[in-house]
């Protein structure tokens, strides 16, 4: 039983010539809340797809709970406890909110009845219980976001879940993320809005041009000239030390 | 047993037929590209156009070629009306809108056939005398029938005009914008509903053109649309739904494949050749030859 939940080693994905992610290595501990930041086109979404299994890496290995999942397809990884949300919010609109959650729960609980009970619990937790029987199509943006995180994985990948939310909604979102984390679920979240990520996460990983530019405590990072440079768009060659993962 | 000249003849005929198939299909493709709707009454639109041409030839002694603009105008109105009266409601369906569209137009198809039979009788009509009629040019051993030749040329012209329309005019831009993001265009003040209605009008208008040409050398009866519609669906899918150029290319391919299969295999298997090509293509290009959607 290793103390690392997720471990990436030299993960590279090329599209034609250019590498969207280039030799990325880092690790996540169980229950850790980590932000994945970086300018547009830094390769954040690609990395997400690689971890979730929507894409397979051109090189490198991905280990989850010590098991090599590099070659596994998305559903298999999901069954092992990796869950992801989408930038564009996704839900099964012709199904009820409850049924939406049941679909996810079935990945780990084979029996529908058990899955339904689990789904009810989860809905209570994400405060959607009152809408359990509603068609998911009728939910507000914010509630759909909640619906997306309404599952119990070991690792949750959040892809810009705060975008498109009002400040108050966003605040409730942040609370929810904290709450999920309290349940011992590790979270890797991509966010543009620094103000949201930085106070929230234990640790942030900065991607730039598909490489890990820096990694560490938020307060440290915001003072890191390389990071600032990256965000200001002064493209220095990545000779700037590339810090190894935690 | 087949000589080189008869092979050449078959290629030429296949090409001409193909260009006409393309013209029959493009309206379907246009409407689909615009709003992701497949019109299952497409064949009946064609049938109406052919009857309209026949009526003008019979009643006003208008030659099919002269009738073309009138028929196109009539079909434009009809197409727009069908959208406003039926399809626009079908699209409001929040659930399984796809099936609702298919079967509302399927119902329309049966209704139109019934009406045609009721008012026009199921008798087989055809325009006995027209300028093109059964005129034909002989290039050495190869015969080029005037109706198909003119039809093919008109088809090419129509595609060119369509291309200009889509790329050069505001209406075209509106169509493009609408197919990109139907709701966004509303913000810039384009009425989605209006563009859709115009799109259906335009699509039907092209069917009208095809129908008027076909009427000059093809028989006409209430069920005439069926075989053409099936070919049109395959053509559109082969070229890629929504791709105007795809429809053109696919039409030609279908025409040639059909003609060649008919001589290589027993000729009642010629559709099989066409269908097989469709399957082969989509296995490698799941969105057809030039499909974007």
């Amino acid at each position: 039983m290793s103390e690392t939940l997720l471990e990436l080693r030299g993960v590279t994905r090329r599209f034609g010539g250019l590498a969207a992610t280039d030799d990325v290595s880092f690790a996540l501990a169980p229950g850790e809340l980590v932000g994945l930041i970086g300018p547009n086109g830094a390769g954040k979404s690609t990395l997400f797809n690689l971890i979730a299994g929507a894409l397979l890496p051109s090189a490198g290995t991905i280990r989850f709970e010590g098991e090599d999942v590099t070659a596994l397809p998305a559903p298999a990884r999901c069954a092992r406890g990796i869950a992801r949300t989408f930038q564009v919010v996704r839900s099964f609109d012709s199904m009820s909110v409850l049924e939406n959650v049941v679909v996810g729960a079935l990945a780990r609980v084979a029996n529908p009845r058990a899955a339904r009970h689990k789904a009810h619990e989860i809905l209570d937790f994400v405060e959607l219980a009152s809408r359990a029987e509603r068609p998911a199509g009728e939910l507000t943006m914010a509630d759909k976001r909640r619906l997306e995180v309404a599952r119990e994985p070991r690792l949750l990948l959040l892809d810009e879940v705060m975008t498109g939310l009002t400040p108050s909604e966003a605040q409730r979102g942040i609370d929810l993320v904290r709450a999920i984390r309290k349940r011992g679920i590790a979270i890797l979240m991509v966010e543009h809005v620094m103000e949201i990520v930085m106070p929230l996460v234990d640790r942030a990983i900065v991607l730039d041009l598909g490489r890990v530019l820096a990694s560490g405590r938020p307060d440290a990072l915001v003072r890191d000239p390389a990071v600032i440079g990256a965000y200001l768009g002064q493209r220095r060659s990545s000779s700037v030390g590339h810090a190894p993962g935690a | 047993m087949l000589t080189a000249s008869s092979i050449a003849q078959i290629m030429v005929s296949g090409l001409l037929t193909g260009l006409i198939y393309a013209l029959v299909a493009v309206g379907l493709s246009l409407i689909f590209g615009l709003m992701n709707v497949v019109n299952f009454a497409h064949g009946e639109f064609l049938m109406l156009a052919m009857y309209a041409t026949f009526g003008l030839a019979l009643g006003l002694a208008l030659d099919p070629l002269v009738a073309v603009p009138i028929v196109m105008a009539a079909l434009f109105v009809f197409g727009a009306a069908v959208y406003l009266g039926i399809v626009s409601y079908a699209m409001r369906a929040r659930v399984n809108s796809g099936m609702v569209q298919i079967f509302s137009t399927f119902g329309l198809a049966i209704l139109l056939r019934g009406l045609a039979q009721y008012f026009l009788t199921p008798n087989y009509r055809s325009i006995a005398h027209s300028w093109l009629g059964s005129r034909t040019f002989a290039l050495g051993p190869i015969y080029v029938p005037a109706p198909q030749l003119v039809g093919a040329l008109i088809s090419i012209a129509a595609f060119f005009a369509l291309w200009l329309l889509i790329t050069r005019t505001d209406f075209g831009k509106a169509i493009e914008a609408t197919r990109e993001d139907a709701d966004a265009v509303a913000l810039v003040g384009i009425s989605k509903n209006r563009v859709f209605a115009l799109g259906w009008g335009l699509g039907a208008m092209l069917v009208g053109l095809a129908g008027a040409i076909l009427a000059s050398f093809y028989y006409i009866y209430p069920n005439v649309g069926g075989p053409f519609a099936l070919i049109a669906y395959v053509t559109v899918a082969l070229g890629g739904f929504g791709s105007v150029f795809g429809a053109l290319a696919a039409g030609v391919i279908v025409g040639l494949v059909e003609a060649l299969t008919a001589v290589i295999l027993p000729s009642d298997l010629k559709e099989v050749g066409v269908y097989a090509v469709y399957l082969a293509v989509v296995l490698f290009r799941p969105r057809g030859l030039f499909g974007s959607i």
Binding site: - | M1, S13, G14, P122, Y124, V263, S267
Partner: protein
């Protein structure tokens, strides 16, 4: 609560309908005959024409006419105390299942005592089977598939010829022409991929090999194809002495137009009627097929030999606005023959009518057809329904074969 209740409602509705018709059928002075044709779908026109033919026959049966035809001179059926015949029409849309359902409805609800139809051979299969099960006769008016009478049915009857007899007639004609020194060696078959087309071509292939004709092209095409250019190109390449099409109106029109477009002028066309006996086809492409020869069960110029032909045609034309043709004449005559049997049976009992049909022996002169006589063999087929060959000359069909029926010499090749 969906399936059942609905059906019950509809059910009871239908049952009521039944009651109504039962009452009517119960009236003694009426004999109901079920008439099945395609009244909608691709062949609806055939049904419409068949209806005119049936009504003409009904007129002849139920009213007095000075014609030398069975039941013409009397009003109604003398054998049944002058009972009038009532026709109940049913639409089978060319679907065997629907054909059977309608047959059952006609028998059990409309209480018809015999069935007649059906144009489609496939529908005739299920309809004749149903008639067999209910023990009442099926009169095949215009099905030309020989396979029908080989089902071993007791209640199947066909007064007209079937495709083998028709094809035999054609080859008799070729032999006759050969004797007269005309060169006929190679044939090109062109037929659709339906029962009609297949039966027809099988028979033609059989006779060709038996009598030493070379089939240089045997082209089977998918009915109602949008284009026939490839097929015609092959026919042209084969350039046989005779082109023998077995096609319905739609493909017939397209075939002729395509031949003209591709500059193919066959030396001779001998058609298996169907489309080539349809006014619509001659209206559409008449000029291109001057000299075309088609087999027929009927020809107007027979009026010279059989006076009733002209009168009956007039009766029909008054209704349909066109002359009798291969199909309508058979439909009309078959109904009269059936009614005659019912009359002689003096009963509406199926078995009695069957016996009467078996006993049928009507001289050809008492029909409007070129037949020797009407007499059914063990299979219910009238072997004496010899066909004629008609040639399309100056926009009219004239009988050219067999000699005893011919009123003109054949023009060969067709261009001459």
């Amino acid at each position: 609560m969906n399936v059942t209740r609905r059906s019950v409602l509809l059910g009871s509705a239908a049952v009521m309908a039944t009651m109504a018709t039962r009452v009517r059928a119960a009236q003694p002075k009426e004999v109901a005959i079920g008439v099945l044709y395609p009244f909608s779908g691709p062949s609806a026109q055939v049904g419409v024409d068949a209806k005119f033919a049936s009504e003409t026959a009904l007129d002849i049966i139920n009213n007095r006419h000075d014609l030398d035809l069975p039941l013409a001179k009397s009003a109604g059926l003398p054998g049944l105390g002058g009972a009038k015949v009532r026709l109940v029409y049913a639409d089978h849309q060319g679907d065997p299942q629907k054909g059977r359902a309608e047959a059952e409805r006609l028998i059990t609800q409309e209480k018809v005592c015999a069935l007649i139809g059906t144009y489609y051979s496939s529908v005739a299969v299920t309809v004749s089977q149903t008639a067999e099960r209910y023990g009442l006769p099926y009169m095949s008016a215009d099905n030309s598939s020989p396979s029908l009478q080989r089902q071993g049915l007791k209640f199947f009857f066909r007064a007209a010829a079937h495709d083998e007899m028709f094809s035999k007639g054609m080859f008799d004609f070729y032999d006759w022409m050969r004797k007269k020194g005309t060169k006929i060696d190679t044939l090109a078959l062109f037929h659709e991929d339906t029962i009609f087309g297949t039966d027809s071509s099988n028979a033609q292939l059989k006779f060709a090999s038996e009598r030493g004709y070379k089939v240089v092209a045997d082209i089977k095409y998918h009915a109602n194809s949008p284009s026939l250019t490839a097929e015609v190109t092959q026919l042209k390449a084969a350039n046989a002495d005779v082109l023998m099409p077995s096609s319905y109106t739609t493909d017939g029109i397209l075939l002729v137009k395509t031949m003209a477009e591709l500059g193919y002028k066959p030396k001779a066309i001998v058609a298996q009627a169907a489309g080539f006996s349809d006014k619509a086809l001659f209206d559409a492409v008449g000029p291109q097929i001057q000299g075309l020869i088609t087999r027929g069960s009927f020809s107007l110029d027979l009026a010279a030999k059989r006076p009733s032909v002209g009168a009956v045609n007039a009766l029909f034309k008054a209704r349909a606005g066109k002359d009798l043709n291969d199909n309508t004449s058979r439909e009309l005559m078959a109904l009269i023959i059936l009614a005659d049997a019912i009359d002689r049976a003096k009963s509406t009992d199926g078995e009695a009518i069957r016996k009467a049909l078996v006993a049928t022996d009507i001289p050809g002169t008492r029909t409007i057809m070129p037949w020797k006589r009407v007499k059914f063999d063990a299979q219910g087929q009238n072997e004496d329904a010899d066909p004629v060959l008609l040639q399309y000359v100056k926009d009219k069909l004239v009988t050219i074969f067999p000699p005893q029926a011919a009123i003109a010499a054949p023009i060969w090749p067709m261009g001459a």
